[in-house]
Symmetry: C2
Subunit: 267 residues, 2 copies
């Protein structure tokens, strides 16, 4: 039985892994964000190695990545006896919390109300740039942006239009959903096809490894695009199928208790 699980596990890692594009520090961020985001959550150094080792990441690479994450203020580490534990800083927790809703949203509500803001060309400062920074806007060009909901306050410098119908041309679809993003989403959708029939007796560590991989790849797709009506999607955009498969899989890989991910020697 264990043998079959291990085979399924090994095949799944192979299907989901993305060896040429693996930023170790980012994989670690995905792991913490998914399984150790709460205040007080800690992961031991050898646990970390055991979870992400199977992906093909060596302990030395983990050490370097942790050093970087500490330097960037995301992670703190502490010695407990002869071992290390690692945990998110308040800053790291805030950053994770900010994107958590979007990553784990199963059925996003597509806004039905939209507006467009157009700035004056050639004007010195840009009210529009400030709006783009402060709120969720989709840039159409250097002087115009699309946003959901009603026209906000403080837009007197901008031409603001409430829109009742939008027809998106191909160049705008490509601007919002560039080819490399579409390909990432397509390849994740395809790779997830291999992960049906999740075995019942995966170990907590195996589950942690798989969750980390899935969340990591999904994060790098879903955080790159806004929720839009279907008219904005390139014809081959598999956003809905991708999301469905991500959650089907995560539902069969329930988050392990951190207590179960202790530094026990492997069986």
């Amino acid at each position: 039985m264990t043998g079959i699980n291990d085979t399924w596990f090994d095949n799944s890692i192979a299907a989901l892994g993305d060896p040429q594009n693996q930023r170790v520090w980012s994989v670690i961020v995905s792991l913490f964000g998914d399984m150790a985001q709460a205040t007080g959550d800690r992961i031991g150094g050898s646990t970390l190695t055991r979870i992400i080792g199977p992906i093909g990441i060596k302990p030395e690479a983990i050490r370097v990545a942790l050093h970087r994450l500490r330097k960037d203020g995301w992670i703190e580490s502490a010695r407990i006896g002869r071992t290390s534990v690692h945990f998110l800083t308040d800053f790291g927790r805030e950053q994770s919390a900010a994107v958590t809703p979007r990553i784990y949203c199963r059925t996003p509500e597509i806004p039905t109300d939209w507006h467009v803001l157009i700035d004056e060309e050639g004007a010195g400062h840009s009210t529009l740039d400030e709006m783009l920074l402060a709120h969720s806007y989709i840039s159409i060009g250097r002087h115009s942006a699309l946003g959901a909901g009603p026209i906000p306050a403080n837009c007197e410098d901008l031409l603001s239009l409430r829109v009742s119908a939008i027809n998106a041309p191909d160049w705008l679809k490509t601007r919002i959903f560039p080819r490399d993003l579409v390909q990432s989403c397509q390849s994740l959708t395809r790779d997830l096809e291999h992960l049906s029939d999740v075995p019942k007796h995966l170990s907590p560590f195996q589950i942690a490894t798989l969750r980390t991989l899935v969340v990591h790849r999904w994060r790098r797709v879903v955080l790159r695009y806004p929720d839009l009506p279907d008219g904005f999607h390139p014809q081959d955009w598999p956003g809905i199928a991708c999301r469905t498969r991500v959650f089907d899989l995560l539902d069969h890989l329930p988050r392990p208790n951190l207590a179960a991910l202790t530094d026990d020697p492997e069986p």
Copy 2:
């Protein structure tokens, strides 16, 4: 009685005339467009002189202007015995007819349906430029334009938005209604204030002179802006008052028969 009319007439010419900005060929175009637009309509050379002389335009200037208008294909001239007559070419008539509806429209219908077209920045050709040429669009910037009515066909290259509410910023109001246009409209509105109580016994020539002046100045305002909801107007735009006064006056200066404007010697 004639004396009083002449005084009123002289005062009115002084109020309406625009000596520093008088393009003689353009005044002649206004005259023909207003009073001699139909096929077969002709105006004799000395009639022309008698109509626009009081404005301060000398016969030599008229000759030069006619020469230019013939060269540009607007006017044709013919000798009849020892006199000349002048008349619009088919081309001149087409040009006049194209703007006649707008000049003489008393109560324009302001469109309630609007749409915006946005072009891709940096693209080689511009679908938007073609739209702007072919249809009545208000340019917002180099890549966006506002148009009345539903979204037209053949716009797949453009982002097209049906708009249900528009808030126009000052820079757009100024773009559509530049200061010099606002000032022209204001000064015409003010000048027309002096022309109330039109006397009953103006001669056909006097009426022709006044109509030419009014139409000429009104033309140079009304053909420079599109009909828009009030939210687009600068705060000091007197468009409605101006139009009202123009038509109040024209209603009291009924177009003279061309037969009445013959080369009879002055009384």
